[in-house]
């Protein structure tokens, strides 16, 4: 296991896309400490900001308030990162496999355009969670993001595959322009959810304010949700039995787009 403890909180955002377990796996402690990070517009060494202990492992533990440390785990292909503290923007963006666990909050664009692996945020997440960067054709494409707190705007926007589950509330435009995949929100769903969605699924546990371009279909028990909820439970998300066995109101949309998307709203009656 490799431990990185923040010793100097950067006064400017620190671009640290070298903090990846697959990069560290073959490196010694000294080599890790020399890896470059971008502090503002200046290249520095990782060791300038972190106390590094251990080497040659794909198990990485980060300690400290890393809200200013961006791009942790970006593009990682294997290994595990555990962060005891907050994480900065772009956490795990574009990651392909492996796991990131944050015992704190994560900044904007966590898991953006990821195509595999798992991110579990025990605090809140920012905007663009699992989403697509401006100009991109799709956001998250496989993998799983779990958030125990709230998430910001554009959660899961342009998502193509994968699963995003948020225990708390999400902001506006959740699941906007979704191509496929599943977004589950146990708290409140912000306005304009599913705007422009082609396919894919949004599941809400509180009645959202839906766009007029979504039409009500029926009340039924979508069986596949059982599998999704079972998966979440295996990942440590507490799931009520009624959510698994209960009925959901199904709305089709967005009729402004392809209209093959769906929003399920848990039917408490």
């Amino acid at each position: 296991m490799i431990r990185l403890a923040l010793k100097t909180r950067p006064d400017l955002p620190l671009e640290a896309d070298t903090i990846r377990p697959d990069y560290f796996a073959q490196k010694t402690e000294a080599e890790i400490a020399k890896l470059p990070v971008l502090h503002g517009n200046q290249f520095c060494a990782l060791g300038d900001f972190f106390n590094v202990r251990g080497g040659a492992s794909d198990q990485l533990v980060l300690e400290g308030d890393l809200a200013q440390v961006k791009r942790i785990g970006t593009g990682m292909e294997y290994g595990q990162i555990t962060i005891h503290g907050n994480a900065g923007m772009h956490l795990g963006a574009g990651m392909r496999a492996g796991e990131i666990v944050v015992f704190g909050d994560a900044g904007d664009w966590a898991g953006a355009e990821m195509c595999g692996g798992k991110i579990h945020i025990h605090g809140n997440a920012g905007h663009g969670l699992g989403g697509a960067y401006r100009g991109s054709r799709h956001g998250m494409n496989r993998g799983m993001i779990l958030v125990e707190g709230n998430a910001g705007n554009e959660t899961g926007s342009l998502m193509r595959r994968g699963l995003v589950a948020v225990r708390g509330d999400v902001g506006e435009f959740a699941g906007a322009f979704v191509i496929a995949g599943t977004l589950i929100v146990f708290g409140s769903l912000g306005r304009r959810a599913g705007a422009g969605m082609k396919r894919g699924t949004i599941v809400a546990y509180q009645q959202p304010e839906l766009l007029p371009t979504f039409t009500f279909d029926c009340v039924y028990q979508p069986l596949y949700l059982r599998l999704i909820l079972q998966t979440l439970q295996l990942e440590g998300f507490s799931i009520e039995e009624e959510w698994r066995t209960g009925a959901y109101r199904r709305y089709s949309g967005d009729l402004n787009a392809l209209g093959k998307g769906e929003i399920f709203v848990y039917d408490q009656h």
Partner: protein, 299 residues
């Protein structure tokens, strides 16, 4: 060497088994009644590849199903991987998808896979949706009661068909009783099915016929009514023979079923238990009765 169990002679011979391809299908439904209904339909007309293109049976009820609902496990076997793929699509499509409240999952972890949901999805006429959950793809096909959930691909593997025991008894009552007890014991073995009605075959067959258009015909050597006119394998005092055919995913499972079935069938009034073979010319496996019976039953 003579081997007897409870006074029943176990003939020193072997069952000749051969390779087929097998799949395990998990069917779930709102309750066990409907899961069993689908499983029963799916395994209908599937006693022998000779006439039915596949062999199938219900492996048993299962508690731990993918969607947490009541479920059953079905084993389906066919001559080749391609044949099996076709039979799966036909039978899941016609017998499971049509059965209300059901869902259908792959139950075999294998590198060899064939598309099932991936073929049936077209029934959705463009309204089908796929979901990738934990690297397994599922298809949701809209139906009039909601939707049919079916896994995209099913695992298939080489399997063993043609395991068998023949129970030779003094009369029909005792032979049937012995066969029923054997079936009851064999059905507790996971990974095997007994594809014939009630697990028992009365019309055992031999390869070929005097009629050129027939691939198989009655096993005259074991027909008590022909004892006086053919080269009979029916000893004096035997008036009924029943066969139990065993098909399994692994040879060990077929051997285990052979063992427990033979033990259970050794009742008073049973004269001999033997196995059918084709002189070793057809099958890839030989299941020697004496060897199987000497193995540890609990193994």
């Amino acid at each position: 060497m003579m081997l007897t169990i409870n006074g029943v002679e176990i003939e020193d011979t072997y069952a000749e088994a051969f390779t087929m391809w097998g799949a395990r299908i998990i069917i779930t439904a709102k309750n066990l009644k409907w899961a069993m209904e689908a499983a029963t339909r799916m395994t209908g007309f599937a006693t022998s590849v000779i006439g039915c293109k596949c062999e199938a049976g219900i492996e048993g009820e299962i508690d731990d199903t993918p969607d947490g609902r009541p479920g059953t496990s079905v084993l389906l076997f066919a001559r080749s991987k391609e044949d099996l793929a076709q039979r799966l699509v036909e039978r899941v499509g016609q017998c499971v998808m049509t059965c209300t409240t059901t869902a259908c999952f792959n139950g075999l972890d294998s590198v060899e896979q064939v598309p099932v949901g991936g073929q049936l999805r077209y029934f959705g006429d463009g309204f089908q949706m796929s979901k990738l959950i934990q690297n397994r793809r599922f298809w949701r096909i809209p139906t009039m009661d909601g939707e049919f959930l079916v896994e995209d691909k099913f695992g298939v593997q080489p399997a063993v068909a043609g395991g068998n025991i023949l129970i030779l008894g003094e009369d029909q009552d005792v032979t049937l009783q012995a066969a029923e007890q054997a079936v009851e014991a064999m059905r507790k073995v996971r990974g095997v099915i007994l594809p014939f009605p009630g697990g028992i075959a009365r019309s055992g067959s031999k390869v070929g016929s005097k009629y050129k258009f027939l691939m198989a015909s009655t096993n005259d050597a074991f027909c008590p009514t022909l004892r006086g006119v053919v080269d009979s394998a029916v000893p004096e005092g035997v008036n009924c023979v029943l066969e139990i055919v065993i098909v399994g995913l692994e040879i060990e499972d077929v051997e285990q079923a052979t063992r427990v079935g033979t033990l259970a069938a050794c009742l008073p009034g049973i004269r001999r238990i033997t196995s059918g073979n084709y002189g070793g010319k057809l099958g890839q496996y030989k299941i020697y009765l004496h060897q199987v019976m000497k193995q540890d039953v609990s193994a």
